[in-house]
């Protein structure tokens, strides 16, 4: 008995310490994220002026998605994220940020930003998601293959290939990566709703988090 009490008592203390530490760590992280948002609500590590948006800029609920065009979960979530914005018309804006974790994804992001200059942002992103298995395979990443797919959208490829090398696009990528690091983003996609990290990850959880923020702000 003595031995059982000793071992299970110790195990209980260790597991309890783990849970307590996790609780404290998550709280501190949430507070840190909230302080970043409060310091400057308009331009901060979550939201940059240059970032592509879906929905009105004055919407009080900001859904920030750090994504990678080569990420399978981002592709799977994409229609649902748009549906969430549509489900709360005028009240939710989606802000797209990049964290190119997959090999070759930085090239894809540059192409995407160059396509945006031709007014075809969402179509291009959708096409990149649809053709992921062709260009973003984990074994043979080949972002150059995107050059074959993109013309179907009616993009001026000569212009795109010139503009994707621009300093402005390189700066966007650099700033997004720096912000992702600051916010502790290590996975794609990572969602923040008004500075709150979506955790645990999941579509129902995301829908609930957005709905709760809409309820608070409207």
């Amino acid at each position: 008995m003595k031995k059982l009490v000793l071992v299970f008592g110790a195990a209980g203390i260790l597991v309890g310490a783990f849970i307590l530490a996790a609780f404290i760590y998550n709280n501190q992280r949430a507070e840190k994220l909230a302080s970043i948002e409060k310091a400057n609500p308009v331009e901060n590590a979550f939201v940059r002026g240059y970032a592509q948006r879906l929905g009105p800029r004055d919407a009080k609920v900001t859904l920030v998605e750090f994504l990678d065009p080569g990420c399978e979960t981002c592709a799977a979530m994409s229609p649902h994220v748009k549906a969430i914005v549509d489900a709360h018309p005028g009240r939710v804006q989606l802000v797209v940020r990049y964290i190119p974790l997959h090999q070759g994804a930085d090239t894809a992001v540059k192409m995407l930003e160059a396509a945006r200059k031709q007014g075809k942002y969402w179509e291009t992103l959708q096409l990149m998601f649809d053709t992921q298995s062709e260009w973003a395979s984990h074994h043979h990443p080949a972002p150059e293959k995107l050059v074959e797919f993109l013309p179907s959208l009616g993009l001026d490829m000569t212009r795109l290939e010139l503009e994707m090398q621009g300093v402005d696009i390189a700066n966007i990528l650099q700033q997004d990566i720096a912000d992702a690091k600051k916010l502790g983003v290590r996975k794609t996609p990572t969602f923040f709703v008004n500075g709150r990290l979506l955790r645990p990850f999941g579509l129902p959880q995301l829908q609930a988090l957005v709905a709760s923020q809409v309820a608070i702000n409207y």
Binding site: M1, K3, L4, L6, V7, A10, A11, F18, A22
Partner: protein
Amino acid sequence: MRGVLAPNSSRTMNQARTAPDKLDTDWLLLLAAWLLVTSATLGSLFFSVVMELPPCSLCWHQRIFMFPLVLVLFMGLFPFDPKVVRYALPLSVVGTVVALYHMLLQVGVIPESAAPCSQGVSCADVDLLVFGFASIPVLSLLAFGAVTALLITVLWRSFR
């Protein structure tokens, strides 16, 4: 052959039979080793699950030798079986070697070009320091080293 390395060592079997609830030194040494490996396992899970630090390939190799020790040593505690050292010591020794290699890689004694992890997460980067001095491989080395020392003590006592 004598000691716990000998299968069916009569001394150890008698020990287990005669004193099922006696807190003798060997049992307490094993308990200390089990507490260490359990803490190390929970700590490593904290880094990856709670803090979401991706484990590098060398971290995974150390996990392979650390995580099973939680179960192996536990089985040696109930009922007390000092022969568990036979099965636990190889794991902790190999773990110590991997942790030592990882630490040397991180402090730069071994060049990163010699490391088996050029892709993904770098094994040589120091992601965080615990208590201001201990990187994750240092913690791992301390845990593996201490467990190995405890298990060798149990082994050594059985030879006396």
